[in-house]
């Protein structure tokens, strides 16, 4: 165990800032998951793979000489249609079924995507260079890569746009109505089939944005999707469905938690600590549920 955090106080500041910037990005992915979970009652195991696919879109733009930051515009557009296609081919057949069936189906999609990406793009680890430079704070003791700041900023912009869209637009209202009660919405004339397709498309588009940002800040690889699925699952579990401020807060919380776990327990426990936290939260939730006899909405 390492107690550098206490020896070098600036590390604490660094860890908090790193965690928050990272957490905002996680929250964006988690928001997509919360949205479709709430509306369609589907837990999408392929969430992380959609993220990675979005990353590859930005990467290929970078390869062809376009600045990868444009990926945050292009990737969601392409991914929206990928999402719609996945919905039409697979998801619409499992949407009203048992949760277990949907987990199996999306797990299958996840494996398929990993293999296809590996086949199409190769197994090399790749990244897109943004050339954004670095921001130094506190006498150069805290460093923040501008690419991380950019990622957090774009994530927030997209989150805000989405909230406004959900509140104001016709489709947004239809999505919210379907989430509340699909049957009632259908009776009142909402085309739920269309709503489901759009929801899945929006989720995929959000994954596309996040993926483009990840290719700029970190690295991408066909098999790197699962940690993103786990993180977003975890954030949604903590925040509950349809609770956007909750998703944002728990995203940032998770980011900071990961950074501190990294400093205190060691990097090898970083992802492990996320899993552990997930188990603890599930146990706690279960305990609370059994006492209050309530159910997740």
């Amino acid at each position: 165990m390492d107690f550098l955090v206490f020896q070098y106080p600036m590390i604490t500041v660094q860890a908090c800032l790193d965690g928050i910037l990272l957490g905002v990005l996680f929250a964006l992915i988690a928001y997509g998951m919360a949205l479709q979970w709430g509306v369609m009652n589907i837990i999408n195991i392929a969430q992380g793979d959609l993220v990675i696919l979005g990353g590859y879109i930005a990467y290929f733009m970078y390869l062809y000489g376009i600045h990868p930051a444009w990926g945050v515009i292009v990737a969601p557009i392409i991914m929206y249609f990928v999402g719609i296609a996945i919905y039409k081919l697979v998801i619409n057949k499992v949407v009203d079924r048992d949760l277990f069936i949907s987990i199996l189906a999306t797990f299958g999609i996840s494996i398929l995507f990993m293999q296809l990406m590996n086949f199409a793009f190769g197994a090399d680890v790749v990244l897109a260079n943004s050339g954004y430079g670095t921001t130094m704070l506190f006498d150069n003791n805290v460093v923040l890569p501008n690419s991380k700041i950019f990622s957090a900023f774009i994530s927030i912009v997209f989150a805000i746009c989405l909230v406004i869209y959900m509140k104001k637009s016709k489709l947004g209202r239809a999505i919210r109505a379907t989430a509340q009660n699909a049957r009632a919405a259908k009776i009142l004339g909402v085309d739920t089939e269309k709503v489901y397709a759009a929801t899945f498309g929006i989720n995929a588009a959000l994954c596309g944005v996040a993926g483009a940002l990840i290719s700029i800040t970190f690295t991408i690889h066909p098999y790197m999707g699962l940690p993103y699925t786990i993180r977003s699952f975890m954030i949604v579990i903590v925040a509950g469905l349809g609770n956007l401020p909750g998703v944002a807060m728990s995203g940032m919380g998770l980011g900071v938690f990961e950074e501190f776990a990294d400093y205190i327990l060691g990097t090898e426990f970083r992802i492990g600590s996320v899993f552990l936290l997930l188990v603890l939260i599930l146990v706690y939730r279960r305990f609370k549920l059994s006492r209050k006899r309530e159910y997740l909405k």
């Binding site: 990244l127 670095t134 690295t219 992802i271």
Partner: protein, 412 residues
């Protein structure tokens, strides 16, 4: 009932098909020596798997076109049966079993990576099938007492040993402070053990000792520690993603460290993906084309590189070169054994003492090659931003002088 019949006839058709196809393969058919190899053509190791396969194919073509293998007065040609192990150790072990017991292969070439070689070695050992492998460097492969495993490459614990030695030397023989971050896999952990040995030998102190997760794509925490504690050397090993992540975050976070030593830089195409940001990184390599070893088939490293480029359209990474060398070793052993008896070939392999374009090859008791040192190259860029890997250590082969300490980011 009807369905059962269909299934039954389908299965029996398959059985018949298999039993006939088995008969057509054997260790040596006509004038062909058939070698078997399970290689990662898909899955996470597929890029290096392809380098391995290209290396094997290049050597097979070259040896065959230059007269083949002469055993007992007769000339034989090499041929290889490949299977795709999907980068999965369990699959690799199954395929080794299949190559030996169904296809009748009696001589094996290794797969890519230490992990997969570890999975295959017990199988080849069980059947007493000699395996010459070129891509499994983990030390644990050579301490299990395997008799039929031979590796043309230097073991993993020697990868970055040279870097620490060099750092101490440049420090006027005084111990250095080392920061290290290693992925938790067999290979990287062996590299780590090598560093621990080197640190002990030189009296150096390890001040940061991080283990990186398999899903590594963020090592900011390690780098923040490096920034605060200012070690003399930073050592990173985590396959291609380790090298790429390290250089990306070191340049973004402006981490100044006098020496940065890594593995897998050429597989990661470090200088291509990061350009000038990767400058001054030191990389451990099994081979570099500028080395002056020679043999009759590929002449030397430069010629090998040029021929390889002509055939496959890219500069050969060391994974391809060492794979080609494995075939040269097999040819040499068959000719000295003068027989296809597995035991005799095994003994001939154990007595190998030769030079190839890739380096000298002489196996220790455990099967590792003890006659070929690792080389360190440094990424050096010119003013136009074009980067090249130049060998800087050991001095005997150095084609450029080591730049040390690495200039600070503020001065670049």
């Amino acid at each position: 009932m009807k369905l059962n019949k269909i299934i039954l006839s389908f299965v029996s058709a398959l059985v018949i098909l298999f039993s006939t196809s088995v008969a057509s393969f054997a260790k040596v058919v006509g004038d062909k020596i058939i070698l078997g190899a399970a290689i990662s053509l898909t899955g996470k190791y597929s890029s290096n798997g392809v380098h391995t396969q290209n290396g094997y194919n290049m050597a097979v073509d070259r040896i065959n076109s230059m007269g083949g293998v002469k055993v007992g007065g007769k000339t034989y040609m090499f041929d290889i049966i490949y299977y795709d192990d999907e980068s999965n150790p369990k699959r690799a072990a199954q395929l080794a079993e299949r190559l030996i017991s169904q296809d009748g292969v009696e001589f094996m070439l290794g797969p890519y990576s230490s992990g997969l070689t570890k999975a295959i070695a017990p199988v080849t050992e069980k059947y007493g099938v000699p395996m010459v492998e070129a891509n499994g460097a983990s030390r644990s492969l050579f301490t299990k007492g395997y008799k039929y495993l031979f590796a043309v490459l230097a073991p993993a614990n020697l990868y970055l040993d040279v870097a620490i030695e060099t750092a101490v030397e440049l420090n006027g023989g005084k111990p250095v402070r080392i920061a290290q971050a290693f992925e938790q896999d067999a290979f990287s952990q062996d590299v780590r053990l090598g560093i621990l040995d080197a640190a002990k030998r030189t009296g150096s102190e390890i001040i940061i000792d991080d283990k990186l997760p398999k899903e590594l794509n963020d090592m900011a925490a390690t780098l923040v520690k490096v920034k605060q504690m200012k070690p003399d050397v930073l050592v990173v090993s985590g396959h291609t993603k380790g090298a790429l992540t390290a250089v990306r975050q070191i340049s973004e976070m402006k981490v100044d460290v006098p020496m940065l030593a890594m593995t897998h830089c050429d597989a990661a195409k470090l200088s291509e993906q990061h350009g000038a940001n990767s400058q001054y990184s030191l990389c451990a390599s099994q081979w570099h084309k500028s080395l002056t070893y020679k043999d009759d088939f590929f002449k030397d490293g430069m010629t090998y590189a040029a021929d390889f480029d002509k055939e496959f359209g890219y500069d050969p990474p060391y994974q391809a070169a060492e794979s080609s060398a494995a075939l040269l070793v097999f040819k040499d052993a068959f000719e000295r054994a003068g027989s296809f008896d597995k035991k005799k070939v095994r003994d001939a392999l154990a007595a190998t003492n030769m030079q190839t374009f890739y380096g000298n090859i002489k196996f220790a008791e455990g099967g590792q090659n003890v006659d070929k040192p690792m080389v360190l190259f440094q990424v050096i860029c010119d003013n136009g931003g074009k980067c090249e890997n130049k060998v800087v250590a050991p001095l005997k082969w150095a084609s450029a002088e080591l730049v040390h300490p690495i200039p600070k980011w503020s001065e670049r």
